[in-house]
């Protein structure tokens, strides 16, 4: 088992068009690094100065990782990780 990572349309150029990819890692950063090892370029779009890009939200099982440790947030086998651009509501 691994982590299922859902990729937004705008970043699929880095995953050969794949909507979702499998990856391994114990933290959000390890998962991103694992994807980066196969799909170069993704990390630079998501991480700026060792932090999540201001306009990128990452959720582990639907919870925003910024409230559970950010890039160091824990990820377990079988979790789903969702990457989404920030959009307005209201």
């Amino acid at each position: 088992m691994a982590v299922t990572v859902s990729i937004p349309t705008i970043l699929r150029t880095h995953t050969g068009g794949e909507k979702s990819v499998e990856a391994n890692g114990k933290t959000v950063l390890e998962v991103i690094d694992d994807i980066e090892s196969r799909h170069g370029g993704l990390k630079a779009r998501l991480v700026k100065e060792e932090k999540l890009h201001r306009f990128v939200n990452v959720y582990v099982n639907d919870e925003d990782v910024r409230f559970s440790g950010g890039l160091e947030a824990e990820v377990k086998d079988g979790d789903s990780l969702t990457i989404l651009p920030a959009v307005a509501g209201g």
Partner: protein
């Protein structure tokens, strides 16, 4: 008090209703704040009126002025009513992928609608409104995403009402759009009762809405203050619809779809509290009723079909 001088005076003071059937235990209780009981039927009456009154005090808004606002619907409808009663014009920039009822209501109130493209959702409406604002310097853009009067309305109104009606409040769950409700209520509660947890529920839309040209077109409202929040859930259409229907089925409350998303997060929080054996009083916001979403088919047929119909729509 049941007598008011005008519709505008009926704002706020909304009921807080217990949900005995959906609450996990006798000690962990859910409470719904019925914001559909506002003058135009949504929580947005609060920030709309507050922003107008702030602009009147500052002198930027005068009789005959035209208000401009990017909105996915409820703020526009609230502004349209207040603008009509106060003698202002209103131009709303609204994404084209919103429910037909919202468009009809805005038109019924006499607002002019400028549609923004579906792809990119409200981000595009904000961008278009900023362009229109530059091209029409005499129009007054209230700008709910960055106007402090938005959060202030909840700091002064929604928050104190909640604490007065439920002094044992432990968690507050609200929808995250402009972020005004959560930032305003959150700031009030952090001062008045610092242990209260503030939880956000944001809609997770279909891919079309996130279809930006590049990541730097992403948008975080200027009002957003993450330090006020303790957690943030992203809830998809399927779960939002499922909870919206449960609220109607078990508690008789006919709410809009965004309320389902908020209830989904509230239940997660309540179940976590129940599992830890701690008593909890979890209050959440019913931002509007279901009337404006009937045409989307949210309340009938299978959940899968209903969720599919919402794909690409701005349902919150």
């Amino acid at each position: 008090m049941a007598r008011f001088e005008s519709l505008l005076d009926t704002l706020g003071g909304t009921p807080l209703v217990g949900l005995p059937r959906l609450s996990p235990t006798h000690d962990v209780r859910l409470w719904a704040k019925l914001e559909d009981r506002n003058p135009t039927g949504s929580i947005k009456d609060r920030p709309a009126l507050a922003m107008i009154e702030a602009a009147e005090r500052e002198g930027t808004l005068r009789r005959g002025s035209t208000i401009l606002e990017p909105t996915s619907g409820n703020t526009g409808i609230a502004l349209a009513m207040a603008a009509k009663l106060k003698g202002y014009g209103l131009v709303c920039v609204m994404p084209e992928n919103t429910s037909t009822e919202r468009k009809q209501l805005l038109q019924a109130y006499g607002a002019r609608i400028v549609f923004s493209p579906a792809a990119g959702g409200s981000n595009e409406a904000v961008r278009r409104a900023k362009e229109l604002s530059e091209a029409n310097p005499d129009w007054v853009m209230l700008y709910q995403y960055g106007n402090p009067a938005n959060a202030e309305a909840h700091y002064r109104g929604t928050g104190p009402e909640l604490l007065k009606d439920l002094p044992t409040l432990t968690h507050f769950v609200g929808g995250l759009g402009t972020t005004g409700t959560l930032v305003g209520v959150g700031r009030f509660l952090h001062e008045a009762k610092p242990d209260v947890q503030i939880i956000a529920a944001e809609p997770r839309y279909g891919e079309l809405v996130y279809g930006l040209r590049n990541l730097d077109e992403g948008f975080v409202p200027e009002l957003y203050d993450a330090s006020v929040l303790n957690g943030r859930f992203s809830v998809g259409a399927y779960d939002a619809l499922r909870r919206t229907r449960e609220l109607l089925e078990h508690e008789g409350i006919f709410a809009g779809i965004s309320t389902g998303a908020v209830l989904h997060a509230a239940l997660a929080v309540a179940e976590k509290a129940a599992a830890s054996g701690k008593p909890a009083d979890v209050a959440f916001v019913v931002a509007d009723a279901g009337w404006k979403y009937l045409s989307t088919g949210a309340y009938s047929g299978s959940l899968d079909e209903a969720a599919e119909r919402l794909d690409g729509q701005l349902w919150a």
